[in-house]
């Protein structure tokens, strides 16, 4: 069985800056992989390369099919991506926005079919957005917009879902709800999920596997217990932390104040 994502030696250089260097990524079908790392480590670039949105060297296979410049539509049927700050035109209704997610399934010059509307409706219902379907995006809160963006990705009907920092704009409770929802969705729909996540504790709780990136390279790849320890986090994040390992394999990362407060 081929892996959902198979990336070999992927490098991205934009305007002379090396953003990603020789990254190898393997994600099995139905797996949830969290990409972690400090700011500027190349997490977003990796996700954009996997979606074929930046020119890259190396090879990327999605369910066995190569990502290339000419295969936009093909890629969009395999993979949906939710950027960290999705563009949400304030004048569109929720239903219209979610329907835009059906673009890769529509003829380039045609309109939406009944199947497209059914798929959009399913996504809206699944994310409990029915009461919002006719509302304008400009009238929604940040958390609601996050769900709407996820609904659009879900309507795209792609087996692979990439999310860039899906929790960055949410409060503590909503972060948990969003990740729980994502977990339920991937089980129901058999989705392969790759998320960039800032919060190491949440990443360890939800993801099957972690990819630690630094300086455009993948520096560690494994379970949370393998990847997260005081030494690696200290080295790559330039942070002083305490790591608590729980019996169930999850870890909790606590920041520790450096030096002593002056009296």
């Amino acid at each position: 069985m081929t892996a959902a994502i198979q990336a070999r030696g992927v490098s991205v250089t934009l305007r002379g800056a090396r953003l990603l260097h020789e990254a190898h990524v393997n994600v099995g079908r139905g797996e949830w992989v969290a990409v972690i790392g400090p700011n500027g480590a190349g997490k977003t670039t990796l996700l954009r390369a996997l979606a074929g949105l930046v020119p890259f060297a190396g090879s990327i296979l999605l369910n066995g099919r190569a990502v290339s410049a000419g295969s936009r539509r093909e890629v969009a049927r395999q993979l949906a991506i939710v950027p960290q700050r999705p563009q949400t035109p304030p004048q569109l209704t929720v239903a219209e926005y979610v329907l835009l997610g059906r673009t890769p399934h529509m003829g380039r010059l045609g309109g939406e079919s009944r199947e497209d509307r059914l798929a959009a409706e399913r996504a809206i219902a699944r994310l409990e957005l029915r009461p919002f379907a006719g509302r304008l995006l400009g009238s929604l809160s940040g958390g609601e917009l996050q769900r709407v963006a996820l609904a659009r990705a879900l309507a795209q009907d792609a087996p692979i879902l990439l999310l860039d920092e899906p929790t960055s704009a949410l409060d503590l409770g909503r972060q948990q709800q969003a990740l729980e929802l994502l977990d339920a969705l991937r089980r129901e729909e058999c989705l392969t999920v790759v998320t960039a996540l800032h919060d190491l504790s949440l990443a360890s709780q939800y993801a099957d596997r972690l990819l630690l990136m630094d300086g455009g390279e993948v520096v560690a790849d494994g379970t949370a217990a393998d990847v997260i320890c005081e030494r690696t986090i200290g080295a790559h994040y330039d942070a002083d932390v305490r790591v608590v390992h729980d019996a169930d394999g999850t870890v909790t990362v606590l920041p520790r104040r450096r030096g002593r407060p002056c009296r």
């Binding site: 890629v75 835009l100 045609g110 379907a133």
Partner: protein, 435 residues
């Protein structure tokens, strides 16, 4: 449904009775397409379950008292109230606000009304009914005979009609190109001249008038030079923007501004050296349809037709582009390719329109914005409606231009700007608060 077909269908569990059943959702001939329920019952079912109900449960809903017939349905006097198929019909809220019937009808009526008015108004007034009859008499096999005199016929079909048709073609083209530019550059203030069409056409026309002795009344040279100048300017802007950062939208706009400034500088220099041509150039720049004839209509119609067709076909693509380059790309669009196609179509059409009419401002901005304010923000409505309303608007403006100071003519650019500027001020204020 026979057993063999049922076998292949996905198994589902009914959300109401929890019994497993085979569901043919989305397939032709699925049972839920043949069971109709009332709107209210459908809403009730939707509130109850997110997924299909089993046939048994659905039939139970459909068989409830009051479901079978409306208040007058049983006695056969009136057909039962309209009912909807149970599941295969998506929720009415899940659809895009495309081109509604009412706005489309209003736009068509506006265009037809403007055409009739423009054909009828002038030193020799002709009644709308007579125009319609005269038009029908040109259709073979109808056997309709016009009761206009030969002079009236000549005025109608050789003087006014080409002018009116040319105005409609140019107005529709400018408006539809404006809406396309606004979509492709995600900039509400974009107009068809954004990438240097106006400056390029102006330079081309000035060169032709100054060095080749062309004039608005004589021959093809002037439109050809203006057309070539416009295309050259936009091509230059595109190449410049592309070489800078691979064709990002805002860089293209800057490149357009650069090329326009350069072309305007050259044009001003040439005008300074040939002051005697100032009047001729000036009157061309302000635009007008005084030189309209069927020949010019034939010259511009293919470009306008083809460009408008491309733009109307890509109306939904413009909606996808509103998500930005990156997300539109992630939805399977070749953003640069599509943008180039739309820009080329809009530019070629605009250049052809400018070549035969001079520079007519504001139509490309006010028409799409009026539609946005009054009906829909979706390009699926804006693009086709722009075509109709832009055509009607410019035809009306031309009526004002030629009848206000009759027999003298106002430049049509003055008319559109005089009425367009105050309107545009309003648009500017409202969009600023929405941004």
């Amino acid at each position: 449904m026979n057993a063999a077909a049922t076998h292949a269908l996905p198994r589902k569990v009914c959300p109401r009775c929890a019994r497993p059943f085979a569901c043919g959702e989305g397939r032709p001939g699925c049972w839920c397409e043949s069971i109709a329920v009332s709107r209210e019952t459908l809403a009730e079912i939707r509130a109850l379950a997110d997924d299909c109900l089993c046939p048994g449960c659905l039939r139970a809903f459909a068989a409830r008292p009051g479901e079978e017939a409306g208040p007058h349905g049983a006695d056969g006097l009136r057909p039962p109230a309209p009912r909807r198929w149970a599941k295969a019909m998506p929720d009415a809220a899940v659809r895009s606000r495309g081109l509604g019937r009412a706005p489309a009808a209003v736009a068509v009526a506006f265009l037809l009304g403007s055409l009739l008015l423009a054909l009828g108004v002038g030193p020799v007034a002709i009644a709308p009914g007579a125009i319609a009859v005269s038009a029908l008499s040109h259709v073979p096999l109808l056997g309709v005979h016009a009761h206009l005199s030969d002079i009236q016929q000549a005025i109608l079909w050789q003087v006014r009609a080409p002018r009116v048709v040319l105005g409609a073609l140019v107005g529709g083209m400018l408006a539809v190109a404006g809406s396309a530019y606004q979509g492709v550059f995600r900039n509400p203030l974009a107009d068809p001249y954004l990438l240097g069409v106006a400056a390029g056409a102006g330079l081309g026309a000035t060169l032709a008038i100054a060095y080749a002795g062309a004039s608005a009344a004589s021959g093809e040279l002037l439109p050809l030079a203006a057309f070539a100048g416009a295309i050259a300017a936009v091509a230059g802007a595109y190449l410049l923007g592309r070489s800078a950062v691979g064709g990002a939208a805002d860089v293209l706009v800057l490149a357009g501004v650069t090329v326009a400034a350069f072309a305007t500088a050259v044009q001003t220099f040439v005008l300074q050296r040939h002051a005697q041509t100032l009047r001729e150039v000036y009157s061309w720049l302000l635009g007008g349809f005084a030189a309209a004839d069927w020949h010019r209509v034939a010259l511009v119609a293919p470009y306008v037709g083809l460009s408008s067709l491309v733009l109307v076909l890509h109306r939904r693509t413009l909606d996808v582009l509103s998500l930005g380059d990156e997300e539109a790309g992630a939805l399977g669009l070749h953003v640069h390719r599509v943008r180039l196609l739309i820009v080329v179509a809009a530019t070629v059409g605009t250049s052809a329109a400018v070549a035969v009419s001079g520079l007519i401002g504001f139509v490309g901005i006010i028409v799409p914005h009026t539609i946005r304010l009054l009906t829909s923000v979706s390009y699926r409505a804006i693009v086709p409606l722009s075509l109709l309303l832009g055509a009607g608007l410019l035809v009306l403006a031309d009526v004002i231009a030629r009848s206000l100071l009759s027999p003298a003519e106002l430049p049509i650019g003055v008319v559109t700007a005089f009425f367009g500027a105050p309107f545009f001020a309003i648009v500017l204020r409202t969009t600023r608060f929405q941004a």
